[in-house]
């Protein structure tokens, strides 16, 4: 007959699966509720501006510095590879396309998830643990309307801006290394880049990508914070889960979006 521990294992798997589906449904309801109650944060735009400062402005330094370095590394590596084919002049195309299409949105989103997403989760989780959210409810203030929705919209607004800055800084870094340091011809660097990069196909698609990433990251971060067990351990676990889940979500979504956007090319 069945071994008792095997039976327990199977039951555990089933319990786990049901739990995941349950959480997903709860997260979807949370998302819908956030969208439905975001009217106040637009009427009182001050709330969003405050959160924009914390998620956007404070993430600027890490985004700009890492964008610069990613671009510089791309310039260096790209030059050494392209040189073997005698086509160093295509360095601008390589740097610009890889940044605008992929690296800009994705790396900026990963940095955003670990810089701003984790902070959001920890903040809301602590608010819940110290019963600030419950206190708000007691005062007939909807915590989702007052706390969650402004953070959500601030994340969605700041993500594309940060990704654009990341790409621009990266291209500048590639220019610094390629043209100023190594000495690739400046004219062909820019002109080949301009003829290869399309505004609609490449730049706008990159913006759409970063919008979707911003939506996913802030959703996951806010939900993890809101759903965190109200203990020190629970908040730390939720913060870790935010970074892991949103990074995986960004990479998975990136594959999906890329296959939709660039399949025709």
């Amino acid at each position: 007959m069945f071994n008792r521990s095997a039976l327990l294992n199977i039951r555990g798997i089933g319990h786990h699966t049901v739990d995941i589906v349950w959480r997903l449904g709860y997260a979807s309801r949370f998302f819908a509720l956030t969208l439905a109650s975001s009217g106040t944060s637009f009427r009182r735009f001050r709330l969003i501006v405050r959160e924009l400062y914390f998620t956007g402005v404070l993430s600027l330094i890490i985004i700009i510095v890492s964008g610069l370095f990613v671009g510089m590394v791309l310039g260096l590596q790209g030059y050494h590879t392209l040189q073997t084919y005698g086509s160093e002049s295509a360095l601008g195309v390589l740097v610009a396309l890889s940044l605008v299409r992929e690296l800009g949105p994705v790396v900026a989103a990963l940095l955003f998830a670990s810089r701003a997403g984790s902070a959001m989760t920890a903040e809301i989780g602590l608010m819940k643990a110290t019963e600030q959210l419950a206190a708000m409810e007691m005062m007939a203030v909807d915590p989702i309307e007052r706390v969650v929705a402004p953070r959500f919209w601030a994340g969605v607004i700041s993500m594309p801006l940060l990704a654009a800055m990341f790409s621009a800084m990266g291209i500048f870094g590639g220019y610094l290394v390629g043209v100023v340091l190594i000495g690739v011809d400046e004219g062909s660097f820019w002109s080949q880049m301009q003829s290869a990069v399309d505004f609609k196909e490449d730049i706008l698609n990159g913006v759409v990508k970063s919008l979707v990433f911003g939506l996913a990251i802030t959703w996951i971060a806010l939900f993890e914070g809101y759903d965190a067990p109200p203990t020190a351990e629970g908040v730390s676990g939720a913060t870790t889960r935010t970074v892991v889940t949103s990074s995986l979500a960004v990479l998975g979504l990136d594959f999906l979006l890329t296959s939709f956007m660039f399949s025709g090319l």
Partner: protein
């Protein structure tokens, strides 16, 4: 409602983000050149073989980009490829212009080269080019070369 230092920083942040987007659009992308923004007109060209031509490939005349390939389809009546070209309004070409598919460099991308003819009337929107030259297919070239070599060998033996 008062203004605070926070607003200034957020304003700077939003300005920097939009500025970065503008830089990407103007300096990196081809927003300022042919294709988007400028008025264009459409002409068609039928080719027996388009080789590796792709949508959005440039259309050049005398090396200058004058338009782009908008779409590539198959003509069911003539059994060849029908290519739709969008040309910039400021470039007008005579009716007997020749379109040929060329390659930039040895391994470069394929583009359409337009060579103006001598007709006094200009191409209008929606017209089809009559004179076209297909892409060079490497396999055909090689097989032609091999056949002619083989034929040479035969005549030399006789």
């Amino acid at each position: 409602m008062e203004r605070s230092k926070l607003d200034l920083w957020v304003g700077l942040f939003v300005c920097a983000g939009i500025g970065a987007l503008l830089i990407l659009a103007m300096k990196v992308g081809n927003m300022s050149s042919v294709g988007i923004g400028s008025e264009g007109y459409t002409i068609f060209a039928n080719f027996d073989n388009i080789g590796g031509l792709k949508p959005r490939a440039p259309v050049k005349s005398a090396g200058v980009v004058v338009g782009r390939v908008t779409s590539i389809g198959f003509d069911n009546n003539r059994f060849n490829a029908r290519v739709e070209l969008s040309l910039d309004k400021q470039f007008q070409f005579p009716k007997d212009t020749t379109a040929s598919i060329l390659t930039s460099g040895l391994l470069g991308e394929q583009y359409i080269g337009l060579e103006a003819g001598g007709d006094s009337a200009n191409l209008a929107s929606g017209e089809t080019l009559k004179l076209t030259q297909s892409a060079v297919v490497l396999e055909k070239l090689i097989s032609q070369f091999l056949y002619s070599k083989a034929a040479e060998g035969d005549t030399a033996k006789k």
